[in-house]
């Protein structure tokens, strides 16, 4: 199975947001692979490997794609170090692109690479837009399964049953190969991904995505990375969405510590008038 995983690098979300000249100041920011995209790589790996002995299922291949500046090659190497096989780096900057442009590039790459499935994070934790997966599926005329909390490859190897977190429960949706799947947090649960090869009893350990091992980091240096430009895919740096300005939200008024529950209830009733 060939899996295409689009990833984005994002500023480390634990850093405090700073504003300069009406926009987010990213000078000196540290960058990471978007958490949900990291989970997408983990999902892809769990689909193409036998988790019990860490061997690759024959025919399994993971191709990583990222649009970003030259520096982003570092985060792409992280994905290769986790176990992805090769990468395509499309050089651009965040200011030059929007979701529609990303989708144009990705659909051209899908046409050329012909993956069996596209797996990606449900959203990037900087822009929090949650658009690219669904837009890409629309452009390709492919089905979609968003917010995946579990994925099971069908016995026929031709479909996935995806558990999706929706309002009020979990919806199970079946999609054929040649679909776009976007993953949510719980996709990295111990038994969230079933590929019919990893034994049912196998529990993936730890939390989140796997960390690259030293061997993986060394191997990643030799893995192929194609360097491309927007124009190679017929895309131009002309975004239809422009950020006019960014502001920090107004701070909340300082609260008070109350000595006991009786005082709390009195204040909630008389002062805040919410009881």
């Amino acid at each position: 199975m060939k899996i295409l995983v689009p990833v984005k690098r994002v500023p480390d979300p634990t850093q405090k947001a700073k504003i300069k000249d009406g926009h987010i100041d990213l000078t000196g920011a540290t960058w990471i692979v978007n958490t949900f995209d990291e989970y997408a790589i983990e999902t892809a790996l769990r689909l193409v490997e036998n988790g019990a002995d860490n061997t690759r299922i024959p025919g399994g291949e993971i191709v990583v794609v990222s649009l970003g500046p030259d520096d982003a090659a570092k985060e792409i190497r992280t994905c290769l170090a986790m176990g992805a096989d090769r990468a395509i780096h499309v050089a651009t900057s965040d200011a030059e692109i929007d979701a529609l442009i990303v989708v144009k590039v990705l659909s051209a790459i899908v046409a050329a690479e012909k993956p069996d499935v596209v797996i990606m994070g449900k959203q990037a934790v900087d822009g929090d837009a949650n658009q690219v997966g669904q837009m890409l599926a629309a452009k390709l005329g492919w089905p979609q399964a968003t917010f995946a909390a579990s994925i099971e490859l069908g016995a026929d190897k031709a479909s996935f049953t995806v558990g999706r977190e929706v309002d009020g429960g979990v919806e199970y949706k079946k999609v054929p190969l040649r679909s776009v799947i976007t993953v949510d947090l719980r996709i990295v649960g111990p038994r969230a991904v079933k590929n019919g090869v990893t034994p049912e009893s196998h529990n993936y350990s730890g939390e989140g995505a796997r960390l690259p091992a030293l061997k993986g980091i060394m191997a990643a240096k030799k893995k192929p990375m194609i360097h491309a430009k927007l124009a190679d895919y017929g895309a131009a740096p002309a975004p239809a969405i422009k950020e006019l300005s960014v502001a920090l939200p107004p701070p909340r008024a300082a609260g008070q510590i109350v000595p006991d529950i009786a005082t709390l209830v009195k204040k909630l009733a008389d002062e805040a008038k919410v009881l």
């Binding site: 979701a99 919806e171 054929p176 919410v274």
Partner: protein, 322 residues
């Protein structure tokens, strides 16, 4: 000049509260676009809910077909795009619910429309304010495609008020419906008599400090006493203490109730992003240095084991005295 097409979710013969927030956004947008609000109801039973939608929108389009029995982005998105074209819509909106977030970007993709997600405010025909970086900043964006797709946030828009006289309802037949091989298998619903988390007036949330799912029972007693919805931090849902769809936060539900109780929750950025908009926030935590106290209007430094039973008793006392 263009109309605003508001995709509305419904339950039986009634619009969902999320749809009322969308219609309220759509009214503002229609004014900016110099057009009308057209409510769009798609799926099994849509005609039954048409009259309810007409209480809030001057025009209502209902689309029903056996093939649209279950929501699927693959079948619903072409219907929305088709109606948008037919009705001369320059803006399409769907509340940022699980359905809206799944559907709207697919509609945008079909129409080559750019999209503004999770919108908190509209500041012009094509300019929107939306949270970024987990709600730590608000970005004003300008969208320049002929058709704009928007998912307004339910918590940021008051429910639409009723019109003086009801609008008109028209039924429209879908073109050919093709699910592209996708199938709805089943829904494992979390059954609950409590209000929906995203539009509850009071929310009671527990965090990692609750230690296990059994301990949440006492919070549920508090919730039932107040007619509240239950919530949780990501630490609690990730640990499997409570269902995943209780999660409040950047990656879970965004809530803005009148009253929010954060019990044994430390207050990670990702949790705060989901509840900072609440009108009154109460934090109960045994550690006075937890960041949750920085956003709380009222804080009590206490162990939940002692504080919550006391709180339940005090509220009962208050209710009895009225």
């Amino acid at each position: 000049m263009g109309n605003v097409l508001a995709f509305c979710e419904f339950n039986g013969a009634q619009l969902r509260s999320s749809a009322l927030a969308n219609l309220s956004f759509a009214r503002q947008a229609a004014q900016a676009h110099g057009g009308e609000v057209i409510a769009l109801l798609v799926g099994a039973g849509a005609p039954a809910a048409g009259p309810d939608a007409a209480r809030y929108a001057p025009r209502v389009v209902v689309v029903d077909a056996p093939a649209l029995a279950h929501y699927l982005a693959e079948t619903f998105a072409p219907v929305v795009a088709e109606v948008a074209r037919a009705q001369g819509a320059t803006l399409i909106s769907a509340t940022a619910t699980a359905v809206g977030k799944d559907l709207a970007p697919r509609v945008a993709g079909l129409l080559d429309a750019a999209m503004a997600s999770d919108v908190a405010r509209l500041t012009g025909k094509d300019t929107f304010v939306r949270p970024v970086l987990a709600g730590n900043a608000y970005s004003t964006v300008q969208v320049s495609t002929p058709i704009i797709v928007v998912t307004p946030r339910q918590s940021e828009f008051e429910p639409a008020t009723e019109l003086g006289s009801p609008g008109t309802v028209t039924a429209s037949a879908p073109g050919s419906v093709d699910a592209l091989g996708a199938e709805f298998v089943r829904l494992d619903a979390q059954k609950s008599d409590r209000p929906e988390l995203s539009d509850a007036k009071v929310v009671v949330s527990g965090g990692r400090g609750m230690k296990n799912g059994e301990n949440f029972k006492v919070l549920e007693q508090l919730a039932d006493l107040l007619g509240a919805a239950m919530g949780a931090s990501r630490a609690a849902t990730d640990a499997g203490m409570v269902p995943a769809d209780w999660q409040v936060g950047q990656t879970g539900k965004i809530v803005a109730p009148n009253l929010y109780f954060a019990v044994a929750i430390s207050g990670a950025i990702q949790h705060l992003a989901g509840m900072k908009g609440s009108k009154t926030i109460v934090a109960i935590n045994k550690n006075k240095d937890e960041p949750i106290f920085q956003v709380a209007d009222y804080g009590v430094v206490a162990e939940w084991e002692k504080a919550i039973p006391e709180l339940i008793a005090e509220i009962k006392k208050l209710k009895a005295s009225r």
